[in-house]
């Protein structure tokens, strides 16, 4: 028989057991799932992303992958990227950004800049402690703040970085092979030309009075 009020006793027992359990349970960590943030930090999943950054290889100045093509600037939906191309001493534009700013107060983390970049130079970071006391200047990240090494990229997004590196390496090999092929072709053409010239010279020597057919074709 269910006594009136027995449900209340059962409920009280549940809360009491939970309270005692939160102090003495062996699965303590499983019960109290709150992360004590500044001391305990979450391990971010590999796919986590926040704001874009610029990848460089080796040296931050020379190794910058960005060529200031401005595709990301044009594609950015909230238009938070600002790029100015660099110029050399003669005033001729070179393939390198002089200014590269991202306003992270505007950035929405859509990753479109990453997807459109043909040079694998802009990638998503996973920083999240970017709050500041001023809402204007500190939230616009400049080139120096945005530049981060490929090693860092490999560290935060290993899979993606490995894939990118493999693609760059493949492209490099392909390019080298193509260059080699071109070089060989050029060399072959040169050799052929030289041979033809030799033959022509020999022929001219053999029959100086007779006009040559190849000369007309050339």
């Amino acid at each position: 028989m269910n006594l009136p009020g027995s449900g209340i006793i059962k409920g009280m027992a549940v809360t009491a057991l939970n309270m005692i359990g939160s102090y003495f349970d062996r699965a303590h960590a499983k019960r109290l799932t709150t992360e004590q943030y500044p001391e305990e930090r979450p391990t971010l999943v590999e796919t986590s992303r926040s704001f874009p950054f610029l990848v460089f290889d080796g040296d931050p100045e020379a190794g910058i992958r960005c060529v200031a093509c401005k595709i990301c600037e044009k594609e950015c939906p909230p238009q938070c990227i600002y790029i100015v191309q660099d110029k050399d001493a003669n005033g001729k534009a070179i393939r390198r950004p002089r200014v590269f700013d991202i306003d992270i107060s505007v950035c929405m983390g859509c990753q479109i800049c990453v997807e459109v970049c043909p040079f694998e130079s802009i990638r998503m970071d996973n920083i999240y402690e970017v709050s500041s006391y001023n809402r204007f200047a500190p939230l616009v990240l400049h080139k120096e703040q945005l530049l981060k090494s490929n090693a860092y990229y490999n560290q935060i997004h290993p899979t993606e970085a490995a894939e990118t590196d493999a693609r760059i390496e493949a492209a490099r090999i392909k390019k080298a092979a193509a260059a080699k092929a071109t070089a060989e072709k050029v060399a072959a053409a040169k050799a052929a030309a030289a041979k033809a010239a030799e033959e022509k010279a020999a022929a001219e020597k053999a029959a100086p009075e007779k006009p040559s057919q190849p000369e007309q074709n050339a």
């Binding site: 006594l3 009136p4 549940v14 009491a16 309270m19 939160s22 109290l32 709150t34």
Partner: protein, 416 residues
């Protein structure tokens, strides 16, 4: 151990002696001759001041501790940590300084009065709320010979003053010029007046058996041990147990605590009568609520849990005031426990519970107590009074709490 027992009284006497000595010294020094009535009058005034300061200090500290421990206990019952950050410089102290931070935040907040508000009533409501709450604790016996004001009609005084908070709640709700405030105030009035009845009835039960309305007399009536080990607290008798539970539920309702927090009902009315209050006035309301809760818990301890009497004969060496505050802490903890467990009542269920269950039960307890009183307080009296409260409990429980199948003939007026 008499030293600890009498520590508060000795401290009071020390202060009074010091005041007297300083006055005499000053008179002797300046050559002023005081009239005969001046010194006793001064000493009375000082002793009143001591009592006021002590009560306010003790209850403020209890309020501060309660506000942090309530949150921590509640959190633990929900498998959270609760406040554990605010400390003293770099020592965290488990967040014990949270009330200090809360206080600073409350006091520095802007005090907003709505444009359409009745400004005078809006201003007076917190005062009308806190004044009775601070007056309530004076009649409670905190220890042997430690009653701030000995009133032969202490219980009556308590309920008379306690009823004043209802007016304050309605003042707050009405003057705010906000529909949520008024709704909350209406609910508060309905709830408080409904639950005042069983609350007072269950206190009357104790007055009936103890034969006095003086809190100190009631505590004295609970002194001693039956069989040399079981304390003669009223909660350990059948009628007393029922009356204690009824009083406890009534106390929950009177102090607007879960599951009777309908007047505030965060999910329904923004904050009920507190909606338009901020800053210091809100803090006053908050404080009044907690002090009122402590006072009514103190009365519960006095009426049913033997006040300052120790639970076992061999623990009598612990000072009586420690027992009182220990019991008070236990009751306060149980209120937090109830808050963590039970969801809020629906308004019609709340009214039904008060009028159809609690009021008849308090009458049953009254009859049981009378029977117990005249049947000689022996085993036979025990059995009869248990029967008198047990049968109505089962019958009323069946009648009030069995679900009726109303779904078949329920009609929605505008849905067809």
């Amino acid at each position: 151990m008499n030293f600890l027992e009498n520590l508060p009284l000795a401290a009071k006497k020390l202060i009074l002696d010091a005041v007297e000595w300083v006055c005499n010294w000053l008179c002797a020094k300046t050559g002023i001759k005081l009239p005969d009535w001046a010194m006793p009058a001064l000493l009375t005034l000082v002793s009143i001041l001591i009592v006021i300061v002590t009560i306010i200090a003790v209850f403020m500290v209890m309020f501060a501790l309660m506000s942090v421990f309530e949150r921590k206990i509640l959190a633990r019952m929900q498998n959270r940590y609760g406040p554990n950050r605010v400390g003293f410089f770099r020592w965290r102290l488990c967040g014990l300084f949270q009330p200090v931070a809360d206080g600073i935040k409350m006091l520095t907040k802007e005090d907003i009065v709505p444009r359409g508000a009745d400004k005078i009533v809006h201003f007076l409501a917190p005062i009308a709320m806190v004044a009775p709450a601070l007056v309530l604790p004076v009649i409670l016996p905190y220890g042997r010979g430690m009653v701030p004001i000995e009133l032969s009609t202490g219980i009556l005084f308590f309920f008379a003053m306690g009823a004043g908070t209802e007016l304050a709640v309605f003042m707050a709700g009405w003057s705010s010029n906000n529909k949520y405030s008024v709704m909350g105030a209406m609910r508060a009035i309905a709830q408080m007046i409904s639950y005042e009845l069983p609350l007072v009835m269950s206190a009357v039960v104790v007055a009936l058996v103890a034969g006095t309305l003086s809190p100190n007399g009631i505590v004295e009536a609970q002194a001693g041990y039956s069989f040399g080990i079981i304390p003669k607290w009223f909660v350990l008798t059948p009628w007393g147990f029922v009356a204690c539970l009824l009083f406890y539920i009534g106390a929950l309702a009177e102090s607007n605590r879960c599951p009777f927090d309908l007047p505030e009902g965060e999910s329904e009315l923004v904050a009920g009568h507190l909606t338009e209050y901020s800053g210091f006035k809100y803090a006053i309301f908050f404080m009044a609520e907690y002090v009122g809760m402590f006072a009514i818990n103190g009365l519960l301890v006095t009426l049913f849990l033997g006040g300052y009497q120790s639970p076992l004969p061999f623990l009598e060496w612990i000072p009586s005031w420690c027992w009182f505050f220990g019991k008070l802490a236990c009751v306060a903890f149980s209120m937090v426990w109830v808050r963590a467990t039970l969801p809020r009542f629906r308004i019609d269920q709340m009214m039904q519970f008060a009028w159809k269950f609690m009021l008849p039960m308090s009458f049953a307890a009254l009859i049981a107590a009378a029977t117990w009183y005249y049947a000689g307080r022996g085993p036979a009296a025990w059995g009869i009074s248990a029967l008198i409260v047990g049968v109505p409990y089962l019958v009323l429980g069946r009648l009030c709490f069995t679900r009726r199948h109303a779904a078949d003939n329920r009609r929605y007026l505008y849905s067809e």
